[in-house]
Amino acid sequence: MKHGKKLLLTVLIAFALILSACTASTAGEEKESDGNVKDGLLESESVVIGVAAEPTTLMGSTQPAAPTYSIIHNIYDNLIEYDGKGTFLPRLAIEWKSIDELTWEFKLREGVTFHNGAPFNAESVKYTVEYLMNPDNKSLYSGRWTDLIKEIKIIDEHTIQFITNKPKANFLHLVYTDINPLEPGYVEKVGIEEAASNPIGTGPYKFKEWKVGESISFVANEDFWEGEPETKELTVKFIPEFSSRLSALLSGDVELIRSVPTDSIDRVEQDQNTKIISTMSGKNAFIALNSSKEGPLQNVKVRQALNHAIDVDLLIKNVMNGHAQKLTSTLTPFNVSYLAVDEYEYDPEKAIKLLAEAGYKPEDLNLTFDTTNGYFPMDTQVVQAIAGELEKLGIKINVVQNETGVFLQKATSKGMGDMYFITSAASTEGESFYSFYFSTTGAYTYINDQKLLEENVEAFKIFDPVQRQKAMDGIQQRLRNEAVSIPLWTGEDIWGAADNISFEPKYSEVVDFYSIKRSK
């Protein structure tokens, strides 16, 4: 028994040692850096944000997915910015023009420096575009640039020209989203892997520390060209679960949280220390109708009938809690090519009449309806409500809930059922939206009318702005008449915030750290 006692003691000691080894190293490190965050700073100068997802890289011009782009944009900045109302605003570029259909010239802001002190100039812009086009760098933007760019010419220190292989009327929209200027000297010196985890840019915030799986912290860039940001320190915490994010806000652990679902808005507003900050976003929620598949949806009258059968206002009121704006066109008002077209007003009787004209009784229709589950805002709730409305008319709806990966795979491999619910990210020009959903080569296109699709693609080639807009108007009118989809709404980008925090969310849902302030 004595032997056993010793053994037990040894096991316990070993156990305690392992435990203390684990705790001491990690906890010790974290504590130290936690302490540093507040060093020399008043609490009021630092703000903590809670978001759901973590970036996959901190390299600029590499990854367009929202969790990454929202952070990247604040470290690197952009050449220009689109305001969602038809105008481009200067940022790192102060002037731009198209010299001819194939040549674009940008004048860059002088006196801007990177976080390491290196000057920002035409060379860094050229380097960035060459970086994103190089397949070795695995930038997800590469596809749309490699075929487009013929030559990049540095005219002088602060002037750069892009010469394209073909006219590209929406070139500025690509420049806006895709170019986050990199510092060539730095990237060359440390290599891409290091530059991706220790980024250097020109943006309002300098990268400080990335605790993987936990948070990224930033300090204000005192040399920022627009002036030093008011909030001196900023930490973005990753809290995947919404209930936990909400608790973090209510307990004061974080002061700003992203993506509040519409059914939780009341909870935030009822707490006396928190409030909702929201803005209409350019997100485009709609139901795509599949006419590429044999069946009743190939008949335009059936598609129009479905449009008449859904009470969008009621859905906005009951499912979206009023936090959405009804759409009639395939584009949103934030898109520069937008045209307000007539809506298909809610009229179930007309729907039944149209079905009869097409030779169907509502009971004859048996449609599959694909949706994601928790990927797009309120997706399953919206789809169930719509299915309910259609079933009231007697139409049979088979809702298929897909895991996100399965949904995307089905969508891109033409495997969708009769209709699917989708929420497209904010698009700023007609081509970028239509080339996806309603063009001959679109990955998400489910239209059997080839002529219609070809006419759309023809419009993309028009360079003259007036003619182009005319063509875009035509597309919207045709797509409306053909009832290729059921437009629903643009939703809001909804944030929960501590009462003393001010912040301006944007239609594009890109988070602008510069606008986050604390009232003194």
């Binding site: 997800l140 991706a196 307990s251």
Partner: protein, 305 residues
């Protein structure tokens, strides 16, 4: 003894290999990660290029052969999503997961064993009933719900503890308590039932008859004998805690391996999933291995077999 150890090492290698093989084919059943990674407006060549880069263009048996030959050398490839080594991503997360699992285990042992011992000794008393009730509750409450309730009580209402995140000891208390709840219940029930068995034994009756003090009977004679089967349960539970803390890690935004694995699974980041499973399987078999050897030490009968 040496034979025994060699045999167990060989078995462990086979277990890890089989676990990896099963997961390799299972994750591939979920589909192709390309659509999740490449923007939908990218030209088809970019899709092809991506598939080629990651070897998805090859037949599945070739992918398997390549995977096995490189993983034997410790190379699980780069994360599809992060473009960095999958193994290093996993190793980065291990300390946080260890910290949480070991402390939850220690907490459960410290709480569960006294509950079990007292319940067994004072069988059918109020203390026993409360103990049993508590353990049933503990096993019945879902982690997810308990976590949210604890956050609501300790962070939102009383603001005593941080609601989520990792780092300090304070951050660890709530996830640790949530994770430990189930193990406490399991250990306490098990301790109670084995203690009841032991307490019925003749040698305990003899000890009682000879006037040995109760504390000595419980601690010296009864618990020590009850501890042997408990040891297996604890070691198995550690494996469960290491691999099964996913929900707790998500609720508390704890930067551990469970969360990394869940993100990787949802994004079909196969290399990270496989590297994660490899480490969990490895740790699990190592723990089992150590338990077996400890067993052999404690119980010479096993050694002799």
């Amino acid at each position: 003894m040496v034979d025994f150890i060699i045999k167990r090492i060989a078995q462990s290698v086979i277990v890890v290999f089989l676990a990896l093989s099963v997961i390799f084919f299972l994750v591939r059943l979920s589909g192709d990660p390309t659509v999740l990674m490449i923007p939908a407006d990218a030209p088809p060549e970019q899709y092809e290029e991506f598939r080629k880069q990651h070897g998805f263009d090859q037949p599945i048996y070739m992918q398997y052969v390549n995977f096995i030959s490189s993983s034997i050398q410790g190379d699980f490839g780069d994360s599809i999503r992060m473009n960095t080594s999958a193994v290093s991503l996993v190793i980065e997360r291990l300390p946080a997961t260890f910290q949480l699992a070991f402390s939850a285990l220690a907490l459960s042992v410290l709480i569960a064993i006294p509950i079990g011992v007292i319940s067994a000794y004072r069988r059918n008393s109020l203390v026993d009933r409360l103990g049993v009730g508590f353990t049933i509750l503990g096993q019945a409450i879902p982690n997810f719900w308990l976590g949210l309730i604890l956050i609501y009580l300790f962070s939102v209402t009383y603001q005593l503890l941080p609601s989520s995140g990792g780092g300090s000891m304070m951050h660890m208390l709530l996830p640790m308590a949530t994770l430990a709840m189930h193990s406490i219940a399991k250990f306490a029930r098990f301790t109670r039932s084995t203690m009841l068995d032991v307490l019925r034994k003749d040698y305990i009756r003899t000890a009682k008859a000879s006037g040995t003090p109760t504390s000595s009977i419980l601690m010296k004679y009864a618990l020590k004998n009850a501890f042997i089967p408990l040891l297996t349960l604890i070691s198995l539970e550690l494996g469960t805690l290491l691999g099964g803390a996913v929900i707790v890690e998500v609720v508390f935004a704890w930067p551990g391996l469970g969360r990394l694995l869940m993100d990787a699974l949802l994004n079909r980041d196969f290399p990270v999933v496989l590297a994660g499973v490899f480490f969990i399987a490895l740790i699990y078999t190592i723990i089992n291995f150590i338990t077996d050897i400890l067993y052999a030490f404690i119980n010479p009968q096993i050694r002799l077999q």
